[in-house]
């Protein structure tokens, strides 16, 4: 393979669709087949003699190189999942197998690595799970599917200004990123600014930038976020927090599609799409005179309302699965699932912090849980208490049973546990009472109203 397909082995390696390369003991590449060229985007001529980590560019190279482990332990690796970054800067999912390479005398002369491109498998997997997913938003709730449709429609019209409203933690930024990534602006930058996190004058220079000498300390020109966004999207989070003065400047940007950096004498064109978000009721703020009506109508060309998690509790298992997969990858754990009891707690909670709170609770459980299953004891106390309180009042049947149980016990006590008298007093047949006593698990004393103590003696 190093010079051309000359031996039968080389011919076979050239014809297979798995990438194959070999290294010497100094980790320099000694052979590189055609599939390896295609998957990595690096030609054989460029690869030969180079350190394998710089040609292969795998996420495992630095910390958990399978080839290094194979040469150290003399054990092959089979189908280990990883990704490489190809010459185009794209992540390519692969599965890796490795083996020790020996000469005719059995001496170790290096290692061989084969890798399979899993892009198509991954694409199919995404397509299947994509029914419940849009970008990083995950849901199977009908309410969210209406939002998915709106996001897809808005993304297609790439200039429309969008207002996303929703409680804290409902995924406003994820929705904004989904709009950006699905639009024709996807290859341009997505710039996010939290308008509530900065004081007014800082926010102004952050958004519009400044020129050298505009104020003390402005030693050089600084581009603002509108300029950095270029032809991409600018996401203005917590738009309801900006001051009246800045509202005027923002209105001008949206109307004129131009802005002026601080200290500039000329305007610059604004090509970015504006996506704004808030957890406040902007309409109410407008009615109360705290937000400019004209700006409100400028940004609310299309409004997307994200439902809170308590109104789409059917998404909780799906979101849990999503976060478990995520944290398993990030924290290098092997949590497999949440026990039914713990899931019961999660389903009954009100989720004031919405999906962000759920994410934090799963992350916390990862820290606390030593095994493979997240159980009730790995959930925060307030969530467990909430679930316990909810147990007795969740359904009307439960409430009715509880009430019947209390009434029967009270009547039985009053009638000295005489079941015929109790049934008469309750207005039901004696056999119905027996059935209820059994069904409701009411315990009767050893001596009851059917037999007096003096009868026994």
């Amino acid at each position: 393979m190093s010079g051309g397909a000359t031996t039968p082995t080389d011919a076979i390696l050239e014809s297979i669709c798995d990438g194959v390369f070999t290294v010497d003991k100094q980790w320099r590449i000694t052979s590189f087949n055609r599939a390896a060229e295609q998957i990595t985007g690096t030609s054989r001529e460029q690869a030969l003699g180079q350190p394998c980590s710089e040609v292969f560019r795998c996420n495992l190279c630095e910390t958990a190189c399978p080839l290094r482990q194979t040469l150290r332990d003399n054990r092959p690796t089979v189908n280990r999942d990883a990704y490489i970054i190809n010459a185009a800067g794209e992540q390519v999912p692969i599965s890796i197998s490795t083996a020790v390479l020996r000469d005719g005398a059995g001496n170790i002369i290096g290692g061989a690595e084969t890798f399979r491109d899993l892009s198509e498998v991954e694409a199919l997997r995404r397509q299947i799970s994509g029914r419940h997913r849009l970008g990083d938003l995950v849901s199977r709730s009908p309410a969210m599917h209406a939002v998915f449709e709106l996001i897809t429609a808005v993304a297609a019209s790439s200039d429309t200004t969008v207002l996303i409203q929703g409680e804290t933690g409902t995924g406003k930024e994820l929705a904004a990123r989904a709009i950006h990534n699905l639009s024709s602006r996807a290859t341009a930058p997505f710039v996010a600014v939290n308008c509530g996190a900065l004081p007014d004058n800082l926010l102004e220079s952050e958004l519009f930038g400044y020129k050298k000498g505009a104020f003390t300390g402005a030693e050089r020109d600084k581009p603002g976020r509108f300029e950095l966004a270029g032809t991409g999207s600018i996401f203005l989070d917590e738009i309801g927090e900006i001051s009246p003065a800045l509202q005027v400047r923002l209105l001008r940007v949206l109307q004129e599609r131009t802005f002026e950096p601080l200290g500039a004498t000329t305007s610059q064109p604004c090509h970015a799409r504006v996506i704004a978000a808030t957890n406040r009721d902007l309409q109410q703020m407008v009615d109360e005179g705290r937000f400019r009506r004209d700006l409100f109508y400028r940004i609310q060309v299309v409004q997307i309302d994200l439902p809170p998690l308590r109104r789409r509790s059917e998404d909780i298992p799906l979101l849990c699965e999503h976060f478990i997969t995520h944290f398993n990858k990030v924290l290098r754990r092997d949590i497999r699932a949440i026990t039914p009891a713990a899931m019961g707690c999660l389903m009954t909670y009100r989720w004031p912090g919405n999906i962000r709170e759920l994410e934090n609770i799963i992350e916390r459980a990862f820290v606390i849980c030593p095994g493979n299953y997240i159980d009730v004891e790995h959930l925060p106390p307030h969530l467990r208490r909430c679930a316990q309180a909810a147990v007795g009042t969740t359904t009307i049947d439960t409430a009715r049973h509880q009430s019947e149980r209390e009434l029967i016990i009270a009547t039985l006590k009053r009638t000295g546990y005489n079941r015929s008298a109790c049934a008469r007093e309750l207005g039901i047949h004696k056999t119905t009472l027996y059935r209820k006593i059994k069904a409701l698990g009411i315990e009767l004393p050893a001596s009851d109203g059917r037999r007096r103590s003096d009868d026994i003696s």
Binding site: E54, C58, N59, E62, I85, A87, A88, G89, E90
Partner: protein, 131 residues
Amino acid sequence: MKAAFTVWNNRIAPVFDVAGTALIVDEKDSSARATLSLPDGPAFARIDFLCRNGVDILICGAITGRLHNYAVNSGLEVHPFVAGEQEQVITAWLQHQPFEQQFHMPGCGRRWRQQRQGRGGCGRQRPGQDR
């Protein structure tokens, strides 16, 4: 100007997205170097961490397109797909040598030249285009 070189085994680390260590070099005082452990977790956090530490320039190995965009949007000047001995790369940068042709990763040479002309060149090229 402060530059961060992500390093591993005395070479530029092959993949920025999972790199563990960054060497911070100040152009004004190249002898005062600092070694920073990059945070685990989401790759975007590494960029935020470098920005918080006053880094202006990032010189690194392979980097995914989305992360590269994020770094540029965060105000970093990014020199991606660099490979080679860390000292040689640092020296070349300090001496303002056009080191991008000498120290590019195998198969990523043309991207380097595109990258110098403007932002966003890294992830836009099709595989094999530079062959």
